[in-house]
Symmetry: C2
Subunit: 264 residues, 2 copies
């Protein structure tokens, strides 16, 4: 039995029950990888496999033939925390052969919102109180001010607002820790980076998280018609593609090839 | 010729080309009002009408019969600024009889992002420099710090981040100013407000913007199965409904009724 995980789409961080921070990910590439993987398995005549498809609530989904759909488990997640928990659960419960982590997981989550004027006054009063104001005091206020909208309150917003955001736990750093034998493909998206920067960032992601391969791309090379990306292994470019379909083909082929050699 | 405008769905405020601030609006209610209006026009045998349907990029849209679709102009908008401009353009170019403003337009837009530590240091250095720190200095930094990610740069986010947000121009306050004779229905959504608060907020929206009627609802009374709302005119409840379909029916019927009396 071969077990795959594909993560796809974007997460959404709740702000106040009305607003949210999200990203432009549509889940198209993730979906194409799922379709391509199912097709590849059919081609090589393997039916003893399963795919856990962990996806954002609004990620693209298309109809799948019934016979195939049964081999896919759809696992919707909302925010970075729920994505983290779902990945943890999946890796704890069964051995995963290949993990393709294409989901755009939010790097930060909402912490608080304050009216700018109130936050400024809080800092002002602290810094003009007796004694020397310390850097830590100011950091403390910016981290968790008293002057903030309470949880569950819709943010009144006819004035300037400040948001505090805190980092989320990185999913990618947990995967190999929980499951060292899983073949892990990470995704790196930069914006307006040149090739050197992109390759450096991809290499760092690969090394920091023990990824087996990285799909690296830059926003400036993504449009409706075109999507440029390179596939990297140990910092070396081992493939490139210029459309989402070709990227899906390249990534899936690479992963299936690994399995053939090692385990089939 | 009768001219209607319906605004629907939510706007999206770009953060850094990858992330955005948006809201949970799906555009379902807006779409139901469009369908209901088209049906009402058919029922009363009026074909000489048009609808400008101003909607968020991801708002719900369904197939319409071709004969009817020709009477609807679909005008997609992305952020609050583009929604504002589109409404301005529509009101400038033709007399609008009824304007149903159900769109969840963002009240604020992204201004900057700063690493919390850098922002704290900037404030600290200002406040410990020669002379007394002033409240205006601190406000100035929180409004437009030097320590911020540059425009077009993807926000690096392994640390805590602070966002600055500024208010957007209110669309609803412009409608009657540009077109005093338009029948204007505003929408008020609160969160966890009791009925008294909700009615007070709706009344304020009505008076501040010269609305002719207000549809008022609270998030706590909205679920998959149920959507409670009341229709108000001059602060008085003139109707109530408990589903999106019934709300659409109530609002559209009310608007068409106004037209019958006054203009048909």
């Amino acid at each position: 039995m071969l077990r795959f995980v594909i993560t796809a789409g974007g997460t959404e961080e709740n702000i106040d029950g009305v607003r949210k921070i999200t990203n432009f990910s549509t889940g198209t590439l993730g979906w194409l990888m799922l379709e391509t993987l199912l097709e590849k398995m059919r081609e090589i005549g393997r039916a003893d496999f399963s795919v856990d498809y962990i996806h954002g609530t609004h990620a693209l989904k298309r109809e799948l033939p019934n016979a195939i759909a049964r081999q896919v488990r759809f696992l919707p997640v909302s925010d970075a925390r729920s994505a983290y928990n779902k990945v943890f659960e999946v890796l704890k419960n069964s051995h995963i052969d290949v993990f393709i982590h294409s989901m755009a997981v939010s790097d930060f989550t909402f912490s608080y919102a304050s009216p700018l004027a109130n936050l400024a006054r809080e800092i002002f009063e602290k810094t003009t109180a007796e004694g020397e104001p310390s850097l830590a005091d100011i950091e403390g206020i910016l981290r968790n001010p008293e002057a903030k909208f309470s949880e569950g309150e819709k943010i009144a917003s006819s004035a300037e607002i400040v948001f505090g955001l805190k980092p989320t736990e990185k999913i990618i750093s947990q995967i190999k820790r929980l499951s060292p034998k899983t073949y892990l493909v990470g995704f790196k998206l930069l914006r307006n980076a040149d090739e050197t920067e992109l390759l450096r960032a991809a290499r760092k992601l690969e090394q920091d998280n023990a990824c087996d391969a990285i799909l690296a791309n830059d926003l400036s090379c993504i449009s409706q018609e075109r999507h440029e990306a390179v596939l990297l292994k140990r910092g070396e470019i081992i493939g490139s593609a210029t459309s989402k379909e070709a990227i899906a083909e390249m990534v899936v082929k690479h992963c299936v090839h690994q399995l053939k050699i090692n385990e089939i």
